[in-house]
């Protein structure tokens, strides 16, 4: 009897993946035995990585039937956009789960290109492409058996909030088990922060990092991690590694710097940041040991791919958002 009374009170939870790698779904499993706690408070109604489901089943749900939808992955094609809009309609609370849904993530770096140039590369000139007829995917194809439809590939990669209203953001590539459990507990207890909040802390990764920082930093040369023997105690930025810690929201426990890898910036910009790339560029290059233009140019010039370093996870939500498309007429 108790079960019957409790049953309707369980949180109706949906998880969905769009342009993502599956890492966010794995991150949910990374909570280990706590997954049972999640199952105790929630009915998992949709989880494509674990259970078979058809889109027509989702369409049959009543509007607002789902309490919380954890949506991971960026939106890069029409199928993902459709599912984002459909799940928005069916869900009371929409959570952008992980860096791709929150900021566009790694797939968002495709915004340096457009559909045309991506198709030209992938179906044209990469070393492994053999495509003498220049065939590219078409959304509609007629075959003797009938019409075939595949999703339309967009010119841009979008963060979830760029296509549907989103209540909360859970950053991370992937979110750490602690971040996942913080979010789950907040949802389970109804103790939710103001709409629009990010689950995380308001301090930078640097704040959580245990490495020693000197008063007079001076970067002599930028390196990539594989090029040097990393000092295990000293600040990584001071060793010339392009560490995003100073510009990136904390909450991960400074995991990467803890194992000699510079922060990649997966928890996204700090609260109230105008542009994470501008923040990082300022912080990293201002402390280069140079007082003369040629010297500065030589030292800063050693930094490989500033855009990819500063906006690795955040290009679609950055100030400039994408690279300029070619001018047409």
């Amino acid at each position: 009897m108790g079960e019957e009374l409790k049953a309707p009170k369980k949180i109706q939870l949906a998880m969905y993946w769009a342009a993502s790698c599956g890492g966010c779904d794995m991150a949910v499993l990374d909570v280990n035995e706590k997954i049972l706690d999640i199952a105790a408070v929630a009915d998992i109604r949709l989880w494509p990585i674990a259970m078979d489901y058809k889109y027509k089943d989702i369409e049959k749900w009543a509007d607002g039937e789902i309490d919380v939808c954890l949506f991971n992955g960026a939106v890069r094609n029409s199928e993902q956009l459709h599912l984002a809009r459909l799940l928005r309609q069916k869900s009371k609370v929409m959570v952008a789960f992980g860096s791709c849904a929150s900021f566009g993530g790694i797939p968002g770096l495709a915004n340096l290109h457009c559909k045309k140039t991506i198709f030209e590369a992938v179906y044209g000139y990469t070393a492994s492409t053999v495509n003498p007829e220049g065939t590219t995917p078409q959304t509609h194809t007629h075959v003797p058996e009938g019409d075939l439809h595949i999703p339309e590939f967009f010119d841009d990669v979008y963060s979830l909030a760029q296509v549907i209203p989103v209540e909360y953001y859970v950053p991370g590539c992937p979110p750490t088990p602690e971040t996942v459990m913080t979010a789950v507990n907040a949802i389970a207890t109804g103790n939710l922060p103001p709409v629009g909040s990010t689950i995380g802390i308001s301090k930078a990764v640097c704040d959580e990092c245990k490495r020693t920082k000197s008063d007079k930093p001076g970067i002599v040369e930028f390196h990539r991690p594989q090029e040097i023997f990393v000092d295990a105690e000293k600040c990584l930025l001071e060793q010339g590694l392009t560490c995003m810690g100073s510009a990136t929201r904390g909450g991960c426990g400074s995991l990467c710097p803890g194992v000699n890898m510079p922060c990649r910036g997966c928890y996204g910009p700090m609260p109230n940041s105008l542009d994470v790339g501008a923040d990082a560029l300022s912080a990293m290059t201002s402390i280069v040991d140079a007082a003369e233009e040629g010297d500065a140019r030589a030292k800063v010039g050693k930094m490989v791919d500033p855009l990819g370093t500063f906006y690795r996870f955040t290009l679609p939500v950055s100030m400039l958002r994408r690279a300029a498309r070619p001018l047409q007429g």
């Binding site: 929150s102 841009d156 989103v166 105008l274 560029l281 290059t285 010039g301 855009l307 300029a324």
Partner: protein, 152 residues
């Protein structure tokens, strides 16, 4: 479109040297291209890279950052920070598809009104030759944006 393109150039200039240099150009009745919009900041070191990105995003065709000569900074070394950031910012805007000639860094002292005039005129012609940047149109989203809460 029949009317001729007139570049819009944002000049981020420091209070102590370049703004005074521009003032000198004005009081000396020197003429320079009316395409520049001066924004006075206390130091070229105050020019956060986001100011430059915002200018391009909001429709500037060019951005000029100008401050005291290295060694002459009112705040000792503010301009050295700009000097260090600038090469990375140059690479960054190039990766975004913005031509390097649309951005320029110059040291112009309070006594160099003529240098200010020369730099502004030269840059105006360079940017005019490049044509409009037209950032908003060239980066417009193809899917309608959601009216939503922003990440914060």
């Amino acid at each position: 479109m029949s009317h001729e393109f007139e570049p819009r150039i944002v000049v981020l200039c420091c209070n102590w040297c370049t703004y005074a240099g521009a003032d000198l150009a004005g009081t000396s009745r020197m003429k320079y291209a009316p395409n520049v919009r001066l924004v006075r900041v206390m130091c070229s070191g105050r020019v956060d890279p986001s100011f430059v990105l915002r200018a391009f995003q909001d429709g500037a065709d060019g951005v000029l950052i100008a401050g005291c000569h290295p060694g002459d900074c009112h705040y000792i070394n503010g301009n050295l920070k700009t000097l260090r950031r600038y090469p990375a910012l140059e690479t960054l805007i190039a990766q975004f598809g913005i031509e390097p000639d649309r951005m320029r860094l110059e040291w112009i002292s309070a006594a160099e009104g003529d240098v200010f005039v020369h730099v502004v005129n030269e840059m105006t012609e360079q940017v005019r030759a490049l044509g409009p940047l037209d950032w908003k149109r060239r980066t417009a989203m193809t899917v309608p944006a959601a009216e939503s809460h922003t990440a914060g």
